[in-house]
Subunit: 243 residues, 2 copies
DNA sequence: CGGCAAATTGACACATCTCAAAGCCTGTGG
DNA sequence: CCACAGGCTTTGAGATGTGTCAATTTGCCG
């Protein structure tokens, strides 16, 4: 049985490689500080120098970069189970901020404890590095979307990704998932305007790809959507392999 | 004195943290297979499963993703000293390809040897992970450019970044550097058309930000360019710190 | 019922794309 | 040494995608 605290993280690691019971025990022995936060809260500020990283156990968060003119770009979305800012352990200074996209629950873990854990358990350390490397792959896919896909293909791609990632951690049933995102937030993800996000969403609705009501996204046909988005799940690395 | 083989890599690691002589010796003891390749060559194919990663010691390479319609997006540029595809060690399947943007020289190192090295030298391992994490930060900055900057600001930002990265490894003097990139390649970096890349470049020329002749970029005034691009070097992590 | 944020619509401006042609280099073969 | 081919750069004109601004509608919550 998975523990209530680090359960989702461990679950997510186990998608890619097996986690021994000693490794699981070591994770569960990590001291943490739990924190609830509300939609819209800033969790980590850009340019800050955190001494802890956090694991998201409930809700949605996003990495954001603010521009001088007040617009912003979301560069990543975190779901339950994600280690939200492990990179900060090495980078020292945050090059982006982290905000809550919904009410959420976080476990803060000290970098020093993490470092100790990773020194003691090299294979587990590799699994944690792996999650960061996958974040990078997800970022590259996002980048390709911004560079070479139309807004509607990009949105379709995003929804394909979120759906699969939610499924990995048990947050999607059938082809439905909870995604309580306002259109102006969607716009910040897609690098477009809120007005255009609205029109883009209407295109997908008109093609009968999905419904999106009260924050519940229901995909009509994942395969058709993936085809439209030119979606290739390789980058998500959902393969069980010794790493 | 830096060795001729792994010298640039070590140099680049030393920008962020000190490298002990034992660590340097361990790197230099790594078995490698040298390879020269010509501009345009594909170095690593998308969807392949390499068992080696490579260090670029001369020239320029890029990560690329191809779209169905034949267009492509470049998602990263590697300069001499960069570990071009360390992530492949953990990811197993390439989610992108790597091509030579100029004639270049590469050292291929077996993943098994790397794994052994990293097991033996944990601090050095952290430095290598660090380089991947910085790649991620560079990717995020690129993403923000695609999402929220105009083409001309994006190009300005790219040139600021390349200039600083080149300077780190001794490839830029004054505000000049060799960047033998065709406009259609530039377009693939910026996520625009070759025609528009040309017009974008003309904008920067008209503002007297640079000259770009025979593959030599000469910045007129880095600070003015950085101001125009809204460039903030935080993400490059050019800070010497124990990691 | 009123108020507020989010979603939607319309009209027009601007950035970028497309296609096509022309100009410019550079290397090569005659 | 010239002529030519091929790739790269530059220009033009019109189409399309996305942005801007402003107004209206919808839905939620007090």
């Amino acid at each position: 049985m998975l523990s209530l605290t680090y359960g989702t993280l461990i679950h997510l690691l186990q998608v890619r490689d097996s986690v021994t019971s000693a490794e699981r025990a070591a994770i569960e022995a990590l001291p943490f500080r739990a924190q609830e936060c509300a939609k819209g809260d800033q969790i980590i500020a850009q340019h800050s120098r955190p001494t802890e990283s956090c694991i998201l156990t409930r809700g949605l968060t996003a990495r954001t970069n603010e521009m001088r003119d007040g617009s912003r770009q979301i560069t990543a979305i975190n779901l339950a189970g994600d280690f939200v800012d492990l990179p900060a352990m090495l980078l020292k200074v945050m090059d982006h901020g982290v905000v809550a996209l919904s009410d959420c629950r976080l476990l803060f873990v000290a970098h020093s404890d993490l470092r100790e854990l990773m020194a003691k358990m090299p294979h587990l350390a590799r699994l944690l590095w792996l999650t960061m490397i996958i974040d990078g792959a997800i970022g590259r896919a996002w980048l390709v979307c911004l560079g070479r896909r139309s807004a509607s293909q990009h949105l379709a791609h995003l929804l394909c990704e979120i759906y699969l990632r939610m499924k990995m951690v048990g947050l999607a049933q059938d082809e439905n998932f909870h995604f309580p995102i306002a259109q102006h937030e969607l716009a910040d993800m897609l690098g477009i305007t809120a007005v255009h996000a609205n029109r883009t969403l209407q295109i997908l609705r008109a093609k009968d790809f999905l419904t999106w009501i009260n924050g519940i996204v229901a995909l009509t046909d994942f395969d058709r959507l993936a085809e439209y988005a030119e979606f290739d799940a390789t980058y998500l690395n959902m393969i069980m392999q010794p790493r």
